[in-house]
């Protein structure tokens, strides 16, 4: 084990920013390797929310008194901050939702129902999380819409051989920028351009991308981008939909209620301007502010540095696990660290992932076991469940080493 300082991140200092990482589990220091499910939160994020509640808590956009004004401005400053973080040209393009799942649903309910009709086609990929499948299946079931699937190859990359045929006549291409099961990075720009050339609109599920790589919506070339706060050092209860302003302007509203209206009479209502048109009711004010603080935290560290750290740590993990566990371990997904994120789904002998995770937990090592909300992909991989260790900026080589050591215990226990 060597200290992982070569790529510029002081991981020891970063770990200290995250209160949970100093706790222990079953008398072992915690080794948190489930950031693809949810990340831990730095103290500055928790403090920003507590400070909000203790000093300016008031409902937004409606009060003339001082703290109500401060609350509104803090929330809108977080919106500007988020826009800046993903390179959005216009702050009004950032809509706050509960999570990435709701962001996809918002698009399906509004843009989807306004633009997709009987006989239309939507193209997805076999890599998708349920959040980017089920909303489209619901829409497809309501109308006679065809779902087409870009296949994955044996290494977990998208197989683009048939892309042109799949996109032919399609109205929407919706795909994930990084797989939460295999870590695969998909060619977002290439796919966006191809879809646009075929006349399709493009939605990118960046839930696993925005937390880990520098993001620039202009460079990605998509029309909609969705992601979720809790996976990027932010709190639960807040997600983001980014979309080009013209698209948002043209879309019908989503939920109805306060704040999304300009005028209401008994006869009907007129909608507010974007982005508020899509934010009915009292927003997740504290959570939005917390997400703004998370973005500050990540920006300070630098997303290039985060990515560099994760590439090198992923390389270390792939090497270490393969060397130490040989044939017992099968790690799914791309073998080349530069073309993937730090999400390692693996099988360990014939030990069921639930049992792997149980033994690891006893050593304080937290990994996920299950279908990772990607059942169609699991079916294609021919498994019901995998174990998944996922890395983030606060992980280092010692975490990987402890995972590796705990796997030895599992091997002993189940005598493989």
């Amino acid at each position: 084990m060597t200290p992982s300082a070569d790529h510029g991140l002081d991981v020891a200092a970063i770990k200290r920013d995250f209160p949970l990482l100093s706790r222990s589990c079953h008398d072992n220091p915690i080794v948190y390797l489930d950031s693809a499910a949810t990340s831990q939160k730095p103290r500055v994020v928790l403090d920003s929310m507590t400070e909000y509640y203790e000093t300016i808590n008031a409902n937004v956009h409606r009060g003339a008194y001082q703290i109500a004004d401060l609350a509104s401005r803090k929330m809108e400053a977080a919106r500007a901050n988020l826009a800046d973080f993903i390179g959005a040209p216009d702050t009004r393009e950032v809509v706050f939702t509960r999570n990435a799942t709701e962001s996809v649903n918002l698009v399906a309910f509004t843009w989807g129902r306004a633009n997709l009709h009987d006989g239309d086609a939507i193209v997805l990929t076999e890599l998708e999380h349920h959040a980017n499948i089920v909303p489209w299946q619901m829409l497809a079931a309501e109308r006679d819409i065809e779902l087409r699937w870009i296949p994955v190859d044996a290494e977990g990359h998208l197989d683009l051989t048939d892309l042109e045929r799949l996109l032919d006549g399609a109205k929407l291409l919706a795909f994930s920028a990084m797989s939460n099961v295999l870590g695969t990075l998909t060619p977002v720009r290439f796919l966006s351009d191809a879809a646009h050339a075929a006349g399709a609109t493009v939605l990118v599920d960046a839930s696993q991308y925005v937390p880990h790589l520098p993001t620039d919506v202009a460079a990605l070339g998509c029309d909609f981008l969705v992601f979720t706060g809790h996976k990027m050092c932010g709190p639960t209860g807040v997600g983001v939909l980014w979309a080009r302003a013209e698209l948002l302007e043209a879309m019908p509203p989503f939920n109805g209620g306060g704040a999304m209206i300009l005028k209401v009479t008994k006869e009907g209502f007129t909608t507010n301007e974007i982005p508020w048109k899509f934010e009915a009711g009292t927003p997740a004010i504290a959570e939005i502010i917390g997400l703004g603080a998370a973005v500050d935290y990540l920006r300070d560290i630098g997303m290039d540095a985060v990515r560099a750290h994760e590439v090198s740590l992923t390389a270390y993990a792939l090497r270490t696990l393969t060397e130490r566990h040989g044939d017992r371990i099968t790690i799914h997904g791309p073998s080349e660290p530069a073309s993937r994120g730090g999400v390692l789904s693996f099988e360990f002998g014939d030990i069921h992932p639930h049992d792997v995770s149980q033994v690891l937990d006893q050593k304080g090592v937290c990994v996920r076991a299950g279908h990772h909300c990607a059942k169609p992909l699991m079916a294609i991989m021919g498994v019901n469940a995998t174990s998944r260790a996922s890395l983030y900026l606060y992980n280092d080589e010692s975490d990987v080493d402890q995972l590796s050591a705990a796997l030895d215990d599992a091997a002993d226990m189940f005598a493989i």
Partner: protein, 157 residues
């Protein structure tokens, strides 16, 4: 009252108590535009009558609102009456520039210097400068101006 002197200047309260150009104009020839402040429910109606030479012959203000929105509308009406559409637009830009430091929360760089177009003088309207210290009220002050703009847009189409 201490702390509010900058907001409630005497001239503002005067325009609020004695609004200029209040009323309606026949449409056509005048044009009618409505504006809402969704946050507080204020509404303003601007009637504007522009002649063939592009001069604002007459203007009237209707609707309901707080002292800031009402006095701003009143001063605006006095300031643009008899001016050309182009002059009114320049004044609108100047007024919004005076306000915009804080208004533009959504986009725009808050540190960018705000320029009042050359050759435009705000006159009495300067009295509303204090509103920028009360950011929630900026929308009250700009409501009638935005409404005038949309009215003028419709006229010049």
């Amino acid at each position: 009252m201490p702390g509010l002197e900058d907001l409630y200047r005497e001239i503002i309260l005067d325009h609020y108590r004695n609004p200029r150009n209040r009323g309606e104009l026949e449409t056509p020839p005048a044009h009618r535009a409505e504006g809402f402040n969704p946050l507080c429910g204020d509404e303003v109606v601007v009637y504007v009558d522009v002649d063939d030479d592009g001069v604002i012959q007459d203007i009237r203000i209707g609707g309901q609102g707080c002292s800031i929105s009402q006095s701003s509308a009143s001063m605006m009406s006095a300031a643009v009456k008899g001016k050309t559409v182009e002059e009114a637009r320049a004044l609108t830009r100047a007024f919004k520039a005076m306000m915009s430091i804080h208004e533009n929360e959504l986009g725009g760089d808050p540190d960018e210097p705000v320029e009042i177009p050359e050759g435009v003088t705000l006159g009495d309207l300067e009295a509303l400068r204090g509103v920028v210290k009360f950011p929630v009220r900026i929308k009250c002050a700009t409501l009638s101006w935005n409404t005038l703009s949309s009215g003028l847009d419709a006229v010049s189409v």
